[in-house]
């Protein structure tokens, strides 16, 4: 096949062309949502958790994406990275681990990897709440940041609407 030029890493393109693990997961145990203030991309993450030898494992995961090529590629990649891993392991994943798999992204697109990870961690947070379990400190911190970001989006949106009314 002719080699095409893309401004994004090959791994991302591969996943974009043939995405895996995208869509809605039926009978999910928990859902996590994340959006980004800069471009308005929105990601929802569904997880199904099962216990094996006393450990909680992500048995299945699916993501829904309203976003660009990189957001779609990373979401697909992340679902494949996470499936079958324990929750403890998944909580250790950082954006750098994703970037290690993809290769460097244009700086303007790095937030897409943060976004996918946020949605995943939110899903785990909601899973803990649902099960009445104590949420690890680290996860609480992530949750606070995600909520703050979402509030900023809403605020920005409200300001935008106000500005629009003023202009009309």
């Amino acid at each position: 096949m002719k080699k095409e030029f893309f401004p994004y890493p090959e791994e991302i393109i591969k996943h974009f062309k043939n995405p895996k693990g995208l869509g809605k997961l039926k009978n999910a145990d928990a859902v996590g949502k994340a959006g980004n203030i800069l471009c308005g991309d929105t990601l929802w993450c569904y997880i199904k958790v099962s216990e094996k030898k006393g450990k909680e494992i992500i048995k299945d995961i699916k993501m829904e994406v309203f976003g660009c090529l990189v957001a779609i590629g990373i979401s697909s990649l992340l679902t494949q990275m996470v499936k079958g891993k324990t929750i403890d392991e998944v909580l250790e994943i950082k954006k750098e681990d994703i970037l290690k798999k993809t290769g460097p992204l244009p700086p303007i697109k790095v937030h897409c990897s943060v976004l996918a990870l946020d949605a995943l961690h939110e899903a785990i947070y909601n899973y803990f709440l649902k099960k009445g379990k104590k949420v690890p400190d680290k996860l609480n911190k992530i949750h606070e940041r995600v909520i703050k970001t979402l509030k900023e989006i809403e605020k920005r949106h409200r300001e935008f609407l106000k500005l629009e009314e003023k202009l009309r």
Binding site: F16, C39, T42, M63, E64, F66, C68, L69, I108, F160
Partner: protein, 382 residues
């Protein structure tokens, strides 16, 4: 499906250009026969372009692009007339080369008024008239918009400017060669046209500057182009531009009708997709540009999946821009950012056939469906 971005060079154009790369390679400033040959080709081309827009040949300045023409018009007029005033009026849906030029002028002490547009992208003539001040030196409103294709009331704007004694510039990069452009009829003082949008080579544009208009050059040097644009003349490119313009003019009526028919078929088919919307003016629009938005999906992903299927298109989505901001044109006509995210521009041209429109109508609904399947938003935004 992206002829509004650029067009291939028509084989007829390439044929007349070729000798000027090799055998007739002279510098139009040289005195010997090779130079005079180049000079003649340059002046013949100038004459051709002038005739096409109803101007005199000494009113045509060849440049390196429409962007350069727009920069020359805006900055050149601003600096030559700053004793008269420092106020400039532009529409809010101009190309970035106009908007960024006036933004830069603001830093040099000029003042700028941006005209709003309605939901179809039309400027309001009353607002324009009310915006003109004693110190207004220039109004710049594009002839037809590059994203949504809306055609502005140029003739009326020209009349208002003439009445108030204000220079009027129009960016006709998208309209020139596709619909009638007549500087007398439109009362324009300066007009930008481009070669690569009309099957001519890239790297050539021109600016019409009405005789008597006060304007400063941006490029100083050997005094080419009546002292307004020094640079060794790109003779091959200019010859190609003139040939492309002549062909476009000759075929305009028939080709315009053909394209409009194809475009309407395309739009009718695409709007059958659920939650799809047409942007731009329903009637006063270029024959070749359609702009849509599809709810619940993002434009860059849409464009890239279409690319996989061999369809070239463009989007006003924030994700596809360097600034992560959605298209200023789509926001100006009242789209919310998440709606502009799902926008798609399809533009057809000389080599688009019925077969290609049918292919798009088959593939596009499938791609939209594919993206909606993976979108968190199903049938509503929540």
């Amino acid at each position: 499906m992206d002829y509004a971005a650029t067009t291939p060079v028509d084989p007829r154009v390439l044929k007349v250009m070729l000798p000027y790369f090799s055998k007739k390679f002279g510098n139009s400033m040289s005195l010997y026969s090779l130079g005079r040959e180049a000079k003649k080709a340059l002046e013949d081309s100038r004459e051709k372009i002038a005739n096409l827009i109803n101007a005199n040949s000494n009113e045509i300045i060849f440049t390196g692009s429409a962007t350069e023409s727009n920069n020359l018009a805006i900055k050149g007029v601003a600096f030559a007339n700053r004793e008269k005033g420092k106020h400039i009026i532009v529409s809010s849906i101009e190309d970035h080369c106009i908007l960024n030029s006036v933004e830069w002028l603001k830093k040099q002490g000029f003042e700028v008024t941006y005209l709003k547009v309605d939901k179809f992208g039309m400027v309001d003539l009353n607002e324009l008239e009310n915006s003109i001040r004693k110190d207004t030196i220039l109004v710049s409103v594009m002839h037809a918009n590059n994203e949504i294709g809306t055609i502005e009331p140029i003739k009326e704007i020209g009349e208002i400017c003439k009445e108030h004694g204000v220079y009027f510039h129009t960016d006709a990069a998208q309209s020139f060669g596709k619909i009638l452009v007549d500087v007398e009829k439109f009362n324009v003082d300066l007009l930008t046209a481009s070669s690569h949008k009309i099957y001519g080579p890239k790297g050539v544009g021109c600016l019409f500057v009405r005789e008597g208009i006060k304007i400063e050059p941006l490029l100083h040097g050997g005094g080419h182009e009546f002292g307004l644009r020094s640079s060794t003349v790109n003779v091959a490119g200019i010859v190609g531009f003139a040939e492309a313009a002549e062909i476009a003019k000759k075929e305009m009526k028939r080709e315009g009708k053909r394209l409009e028919k194809l475009r309407r078929k395309l739009e009718k088919g695409i709007l059958k997709i659920e939650n799809s919307h047409l942007n731009g003016h329903p009637e006063k629009r270029l024959p070749n540009i359609s702009n849509f938005w599809f709810d619940f999906i993002e434009g860059e992903a849409l464009v890239m999946y279409l690319d996989q299927k061999g369809i070239a298109a463009s989007t006003g989505s924030a994700c596809s821009s360097e600034s992560l901001e959605p298209s200023h044109v789509l926001l100006a006509i009242g789209l919310k950012p998440h709606q502009a995210q799902g926008s798609l521009r399809l533009s057809i041209g000389r080599f688009t056939k019925d077969k290609e429109v049918n292919y798009v109508l088959k593939v596009l609904p499938e791609v939209v469906e594919k993206l909606r399947k993976i979108s968190p938003f199903k049938g509503k935004w929540s």
